[in-house]
């Protein structure tokens, strides 16, 4: 099984990779395809505390601006700065080089609303 099949997904099309209490977040291949060419990405500030489902980043394609939501609550620990000069990396490598940010999770977060790849494909990708 390839990497993206082992990730968890939010219904708003973010993927989540978890190691202990640190998660890495990006958007799914389906989401980048829907958006089309990404021309600008506004990432959150490091240290910002975010709630589950809080809009905290913006991805802009040629045609539209889309909010990105925190899939789980915590504190922003890192952002992918290379996206500032080359936002199209999210189009070409949504699961690897195109990761968006990392969140250090708050205590006792419940990730029950995140789904596996198969469910995401079935329920949220048409």
């Amino acid at each position: 099984m390839s990497e993206f099949e082992n990730l968890k997904y939010a219904k708003t099309h973010e993927w989540v990779s978890r190691e202990g209490d640190l998660i890495t977040v990006g958007i799914s291949d389906h989401a980048q395809e829907l958006l089309g060419d990404i021309v600008f990405i506004e990432l959150p500030e490091i240290g910002r505390v975010v709630e589950n489902n809080e809009p905290m980043a913006v991805i802009e394609s040629v045609k539209a601006a889309s909010d990105i939501y925190a899939p789980l609550a915590g504190t922003i620990e890192a952002v992918n700065e290379s996206l500032e000069s080359e936002p199209t990396i999210v189009n070409s490598s949504p699961y690897e080089d195109g990761w968006l940010f990392k969140i250090r999770l708050a205590a006792n977060v419940d990730d029950g609303h995140l789904v596996d790849y198969e469910t995401y494909q079935k329920d949220y990708v048409e």
């Binding site: 089309g36 060419d37 021309v39 600008f40 506004e42 913006v58 802009e60 040629v62 045609k63 199209t88």
Partner: protein, 356 residues
């Protein structure tokens, strides 16, 4: 139910993503708006623009009649030339912007926007009276293809060896077999790059589309959708009806007085002495999100207008666009003006024309 271009099956086979545009289902892109934009600037892009109107006007009095109705001076338009013009209402507001092609002394081919065909034909027909003028609306049964980009001449030269394209100047046109009901090839376009537009019947148009894509000229030619057509025209500083042009703005207010005949221009200027509100072109001076319709423009602390079209230039990555402003502004001034995007202001400068 959307209207379909005669080339719809070709677009599907090419993997187009479609969008609704003025009631037409047209290609938005075939994979990447940005790449399609760059194909035009660097090589050649092929656009289906069959959604645009196609109105033929002929008759002994057609020239004098049309010259009374359209804003640009038709006496300046020689046979086998095209120019940009407007149909105006009584108040000088723009009913539509259009291109007029003079196919013969008394035969004209008028191309309004898809959204404007109804209003333009209705207005024109209402003005015929007993003039010796015939109007034929062939919108929807003409295939219109734009071949745009700096290598478009080389491409067309290979496809039409019988025509000497080096002698076809900007805005010149050729009738392929010399008759006014045949294929029209004009050195016109709306991208800011060199290019041509071809108008022909459906059967010939479908064959031509395939021939252009599979030519053996050695020139790279890519299909392009309306997404890149929009970013290209914004870079070039060309207005879009519905965004920068409407029935409550005169061409003078839209910054397009150049395309209005001298007499009419003088009277429009008199009607609206300070020309406000007006359309202006801008460039954002900082790295910023793309400017989009409705974003507010400030002079210091005062809101002076709103964006009507905008994007990040695929060529320079700067924010560029048009705004409708209610204040006198100064050009090339980098200190005073800004655009408000989400939660902060980014400085901007007004320019006389597009950046390409």
């Amino acid at each position: 139910m959307s209207l379909l271009s005669p080339l719809n099956e070709q677009h599907k086979a090419l993997g187009a993503t479609f969008t609704d545009f003025s009631g037409w289902q047209m290609p938005l892109h075939y994979g990447s708006i940005l790449k399609e934009h760059l194909y035009v600037r660097e090589s050649v892009g092929l656009f289906d623009i069959s959604h645009m109107g196609a109105v033929f006007i002929s008759g002994r009095e057609s020239a004098t009649w049309l010259n009374r109705l359209l804003a640009n001076d038709l006496e300046l338009l020689a046979v086998e030339q095209a120019h940009y013009s407007f149909l105006l209402n009584d108040a000088g507001g723009v009913i539509d912007d259009l291109i007029v092609y003079r196919l013969a002394e008394d035969v004209f081919f008028v191309v309004p926007n898809a959204s404007g065909v109804g209003a333009v034909t209705e207005h024109l027909i209402g003005c015929i009276g007993d003039a010796d003028v015939r109007l034929e609306n062939r919108s929807g049964s003409v295939v219109s293809i734009a071949i745009q980009g700096k290598r478009s001449e080389a491409l067309l030269q290979a496809v039409f060896p019988q025509i000497d394209f080096s002698r076809l100047e900007k805005n010149d046109l050729k009738l392929v077999d010399g008759k006014s009901d045949s294929m029209v090839i004009a050195r016109t376009g709306y991208t800011g790059s060199d290019g041509f537009e071809i108008f022909t019947d459906i059967e010939e148009g479908r064959a031509l589309w395939d021939r252009l894509l599979n030519n053996d000229s050695g020139v790279e030619c890519h299909v392009c959708g309306l997404g890149s057509r929009d970013t290209l025209r914004i870079e070039a500083g060309y207005p879009l009806y519905g965004n920068e042009l409407n029935t409550s703005l005169t061409p003078i207010q839209a910054g397009l007085g150049f395309f209005v005949g001298a007499e009419l221009k003088a009277s429009l200027k008199e009607q609206t002495p300070n020309n406000l509100p007006k359309i202006v072109y801008f460039k954002v001076l900082e790295k910023a999100p793309p400017p989009r319709n409705g974003y507010e423009i400030f002079e210091g602390e005062n809101s002076i207008g709103k964006v009507t079209s905008g994007c990040l230039s695929p060529m320079t990555h700067e924010g560029i666009g048009f705004a409708l402003v209610n204040a006198k502004i100064s050009l090339n001034e980098s200190e005073k003006y800004s655009i408000f995007i989400r939660n902060r202001k980014y400085s901007l400068m007004f320019l006389k024309r597009g950046i390409i």
